[in-house]
Point group: C2
Chain length 354, copies 2
């Protein structure tokens, strides 16, 4: 098969792992799960699919030093800074326009860089299976078999199966479903006809560009014009003037939901979008009392807690507490019930992110 | 009035402030409340009552360096190491025997070094009032007016008032009451006839020695014999052989409860025995949400928490948590509900104190 290209989206910020994550040190660069960051693992996955020179990273000026530091195997010129945040449609359009300019018309995989995925081999086989099928022009999403009625994700409603590629099943996509309420989520999961929308895509470059042209023509026009200057003195200014006027819209909403011939390859690998401290519960080592931690925890009558110490060197003592998140990072300590972890951002907005 | 002597009891250990306090760094030496330790404040109070050369500190070998470091104003030879822990009767007997040898027959005040007391002037007037009245031979305890039906303290049942010394009232003591259950404690507090037993004493040296002779003659004999060697080459060995056989017994149980003519001066100063993390609630600065802390706390929907950071330099973020103790000290983090703080010692016993 022809060489793939990979576009890694690494521009996200966020405070769902505050105080470990901050605007200048977002979650994908944290070593949440050991010695390596989610971003480093993502680069490794990309390198299992494409040669280094065909892997692009889209990030921003603030995070560029972290990308350079953690993506040492990639050519420096492959790290592209978006001049401002304009959501995923703009990033995907920019990535596709760059792939066309640099690599011709490759099949391209687009990956967020903040997911925990294993094992690598099954992931690789899934992407290659989608890539082979996407060569003809279908836009592929990777779908994740739901393990719970999660209301924080979008869902993919499956149509007919189009292929069973050695256990990797491909489906036509009937429709995208926005984050559902709990009742709908339960129905989706119970039906067996829905997958979680992982935000990972596989498509031929010309195919996605054609769809962007149909549904977001302004996006295509802007990034195509900017990319003419790529590598030259005017590149940064051209990209800024192309990006700034763009309406922030997601690739799902802006293109995928409207496009014909969208398909899904159902992932059988383990996937965790590591959406916040409670999500570490499924990933960090768990002790006999059900406390998940990356450091030494001494506990008495305490269970279901998630404990994270930056660097892992300290120890934490828990007595009589349940279902808390306890974090020591960035010179701060955070204590919050797992069920209220999403409210941390309200606090952070009040005190500044850094 | 003649010069007082002061004996400071600074040998206590304990884990009620773990992980800040450990066997080699007990609570009285911690800077829990700011720039000074409880012990340093105690030395200051002693210096307001007696010249430095008449202030003795009883401690142990492990804590001696801390005493030397924090009691710089006192003569080094006034820091006495008990060879082993034998409870307060042995310590009081040793202190009294040393006072007799070194100072003649002064009126002596005996203070635990782990209480928070203010203001100094009212404390000083109270002790001097008791000292003046104790000159004739009565044994004085200082009693604290109870502010709640505390079950963790002993109580003093008051008899007739013997003196009103400018607002400082003296009473005959009817009897000591051991730590009561909640029902009894409520009755005591409601009656107005009970004070908390503070563990602070004032007496003429010869008077307390006479009572020790009556009720714990072995203690008197042992310490008197040892003290003959004080300052000489055999002192440490003599004290060890005197102390080791002594039965551990408290001065309250061993002497005060049985002695005639025991009196109480009712303290009107503010007193807190700082018995554990929850006790800091009454002492540390409290924010608008009712969180008490020695460091910066950012909180959302969180109240009644007690937060302590060693050195005070870090900050703590609390979201949706109530009535917790959160401590960062000694390279460890502790999270425990205030109501379960006493259970921390069970955990510490399991993991070692240091």
């Amino acid at each position: 098969m022809e060489d793939l290209a990979v576009v890694i989206l690494a521009g996200g910020s966020g405070t769902r792992f505050w105080p470990a994550s901050t605007a200048s040190r977002p979650k994908q660069f944290l070593k949440l799960l050991g010695q390596r960051s989610l971003f480093e693992d993502c680069v490794d996955r990309a390198l299992a699919l494409a040669p280094a020179e065909r892997i692009l990273v889209l990030t921003n000026e603030i995070q560029k030093p972290l990308v350079r530091d953690q993506a040492g195997a990639l050519p420096p010129e492959n790290v592209i800074c978006e001049p401002c945040r304009r959501d995923t449609a703009a990033a995907v359009a920019l990535g596709a326009a760059l792939c066309r300019k640099l690599f011709g018309d490759p099949v391209t995989a687009v990956f967020p860089s903040d997911h925990a995925i294993s094992p690598l081999d099954l992931f690789r086989r899934t992407v290659l299976s989608a890539a082979a099928a996407a060569g003809g022009g279908a836009l592929y999403t990777l779908g994740i078999r739901p393990s719970r009625p999660e209301t924080g994700y979008g869902y993919l409603e499956l149509g007919e199966q189009t292929l069973d590629d050695g256990g990797i099943r491909h489906y036509r996509l009937l429709r995208f479903k926005e984050k559902p309420d709990l009742k709908a989520a339960r129905r989706y999961v119970g039906s067996g006809r829905f997958l979680w929308n992982s935000g990972m895509f596989v498509w031929r470059t010309s195919a996605v560009l054609a769809r962007i042209e149909s549904f977001l023509p302004g996006h295509l026009e802007a990034v195509s014009r900017a990319v003419e200057s790529f590598g030259g003195r005017k590149w940064r200014a051209a990209l800024r003037s192309a990006f700034e006027p763009l309406k922030p819209v997601s690739i799902d909403y802006g293109v995928m939901e409207k496009a014909p011939d969208v398909r899904t390859a159902a992932a059988e690998f383990s996937w965790n979008d590591v959406g916040g401290w409670p999500a570490l519960e499924g990933i960090l080592p768990r002790d006999a009392d059900g406390n998940s931690a990356n450091c030494v925890v001494h506990s008495l009558d305490s269970s279901g807690n998630v404990v994270f110490c930056e660097g892992g060197g300290r120890s934490v003592a828990l007595v009589g507490v349940k279902d808390l998140v306890v974090v020591d990072a960035g010179g701060r300590i955070l204590v919050v019930p797992k069920a209220r972890a999403q409210d941390v951002k309200k606090l952070v907005e009040g005190i500044g992110k850094d």
